[in-house]
């Protein structure tokens, strides 16, 4: 089934969504409006047997507007078919999470947020995944420098004087029941 065939079967299942076929060299590509992505994925899974979400990733097309494209790769084992969904996202835009449809999207979306800073609405755990928790910025963005120097991020070393150490020991001794 090519992109137009998929759009034809999808349109009655997702009312109100304006799908758009995309150019591709490998398999069907469909542009989906961000607000309809969850309903589209649910329809694809339940009615068109796309039961596996293989991959969620993104690409930063700076300076184009809308800036990002979030890319979903779906797989239908039953029909030996692959499908690519794309969602255009503005620089400050958000995308609803597809976790309710595909639980495996959790970390994939988390990685996209980590690397591109694209917020997934309703995601239950949007934290740093690959980068350290105190990292600033989103490295895969095109305006993120390739080589930067950062001060070492370490906690201040624990410095305890002899008096503080003894006081702490005493305090602890009193508290501990015999």
């Amino acid at each position: 089934m090519d992109a137009n065939g998929i759009i034809e079967s999808l349109t009655p299942l997702v009312p109100g969504a304006a799908f758009e076929a995309g150019a591709s060299v490998d398999f069907a590509t469909v542009y989906v409006p961000a607000e309809h992505i969850v309903a589209t994925c649910a329809a694809l899974r339940d009615h068109l047997t796309f039961e596996v979400l293989v991959e969620v990733t993104a690409a930063d097309y700076l300076p184009r507007a809308p800036r990002y494209e979030v890319v979903y790769h779906l797989l239908s084992v039953a029909h030996r078919q692959r499908l690519r969904l794309k969602v255009r996202v503005a620089a400050d835009g958000t995308v609803p999470t597809v976790q309710p449809v595909y639980p495996g999207a959790g970390w994939l979306e988390r990685e996209v947020w980590d690397m591109f800073g694209i917020v997934f609405d309703g995601h239950n755990d949007l934290r740093r995944l690959l980068m350290p928790e105190d990292w600033e910025g989103h490295p895969q963005r095109k305006d993120y420098p390739v080589q930067i120097q950062k001060a070492a991020q370490t906690y201040a070393p624990l410095e305890v004087t002899q008096e503080q150490f003894r006081a702490s020991l005493e305090r602890d001794r009193v508290k501990r029941p015999h």
Partner: protein, 393 residues
């Protein structure tokens, strides 16, 4: 007994734990020996390869992607090369396809050998590691023969292979193929009917087909749970449709089933490798004839002006790839290795993204081990065959 005060205990496992295959960290909440919750932390091996790849020319990315899944280097580079060739619209000569298939299958065996060794080691069959690594050494020798590099040969290039096969390649591969079936029997003799091994692995860490699909696990893990999805059969690439092989499956979905599937996969890989070896002539064409991508032969560079210019262009500017994007999956040892590339029409990739099977497997780990015993966690991690380089990239 009612007044015994019990509380859960939080245990940290990793990142420097031998059973975590690198630097995976698990924070586990235990109730006695029962695992209440698991929280995996990854990213310790994140090296920003995808960001680095955007700064390199197309052909310079090959050594980078090989370092992602360091136990299946040529599976990564095959996925990358195939995806770039798809955008370029290149078709490989039959001999190149056959050599790539042979290398991919030898790579699968090498990766499965490390898996069987470490998995055995972790659950008590310590000697497995020595037997497995001994055989893997022979495969690394083959890599050394063809490319001079044992781990990351970078032998698969965009547009073909780096150079023609080395003298003695056929004899060395044939020696391995003749020797290895008896060695698989030896491995199976150590594990398959081993009562201790079976007690540690049977009925542990169930992953059914539906569970695997929901969490995006495709590959040996799903096949052990009843799926028959294999990229080589469903979306053949590099001429796999012309080879005679079976896709081993099991229905139980436990650790033992995954063990049996992978061992059977090694036997099937041997069959494919044997067929490929029979088709490959000792010398012949090793790249396609597209002069944009493939550098001219060295003797022509010294005698013909056009060849010199072409050589200079490829190694200084690189080649451009038509704008667009594509995703090409290959069946790696751990499951579907896919490479999604975006080109803006220039000589450097705009975006390179590897689909990492280990990433998905670690994400699904809590759903598999929760409610089980802590000792089973080690068996389950081993059976999912995660490689942190693949996961963190």
């Amino acid at each position: 007994m009612a007044d015994i005060r019990t509380e859960t205990m939080t245990v940290n496992m990793g990142p420097q734990h031998p059973s975590t295959h690198g630097v995976l960290r698990l924070v586990m909440e235990l109730d006695g020996e029962v695992v209440q919750s698991v929280m995996p932390t990854i990213g310790y091996l994140h090296t920003g390869i995808e960001k680095t790849a955007e700064q390199k020319k197309w052909q310079q990315v090959i050594p980078l992607v090989e370092r992602m899944d360091y136990l299946a280097a040529q599976s990564n580079s095959l996925a990358y090369a195939l995806s770039v060739e798809k955008l370029l619209g290149l078709e490989m000569p039959q001999r190149v396809k056959d050599i790539r298939v042979l290398l991919a299958e030898l790579q699968r065996i090498a990766s499965h050998l490390i898996w069987i060794g470490t998995h055995g080691l972790e659950i008590g069959a310590v000697s497995m590691l020595f037997y497995a690594v001994r055989e893997r050494e022979l495969l690394l020798n083959i890599n050394e023969l063809i490319a001079g590099f044992r781990f990351f040969p970078s032998y698969i290039r965009i547009g073909g292979l780096r150079e023609d096969l080395a003298r003695g390649f056929h004899a060395q591969v044939k020696e391995f193929l003749d020797r290895f079936p008896a060695k698989i029997d030896e491995f199976e003799g150590l594990l398959t009917k081993n009562d201790i091994y079976k007690r540690r692995t049977e009925g542990v860490g169930y992953i059914t087909r539906e569970h695997a699909y929901a969490w995006g696990l495709v590959g040996p893990i799903a096949r052990a749970g009843g799926s028959d999805y294999d990229v080589r059969k469903y979306f053949p690439y590099s001429g796999y449709e012309t080879y005679d092989f079976k896709v081993p499956t099991a229905t139980e979905g436990d650790v033992y089933a995954r063990y049996r599937v992978r061992v059977a996969e090694m036997r099937e890989s041997l069959k494919i490798a044997q067929q490929a070896l029979d088709r490959i002539s000792p010398t012949g064409v090793f790249a396609c004839d597209d002069t944009r991508v493939v550098p001219p032969p060295k003797d022509k560079v010294y005698s013909e002006m056009e060849a010199l210019i072409q050589h200079f262009l490829i190694y200084s500017q690189g080649f451009t790839v038509p704008a667009g994007d594509c995703y090409v999956p290959v069946e790696g040892p751990r499951g579907e290795h896919g490479c999604y590339i975006v080109s803006d029409g220039s000589n450097r990739p705009w975006r390179v993204k590897m689909r990492a099977p280990s990433f998905m497997a670690i994400q699904a780990l809590p759903t598999v081990v929760q409610g089980g015993l802590i000792a089973d966690v080690v068996a389950v991690i081993g059976s999912t065959d995660v490689v942190m380089g693949d996961c963190d990239r």
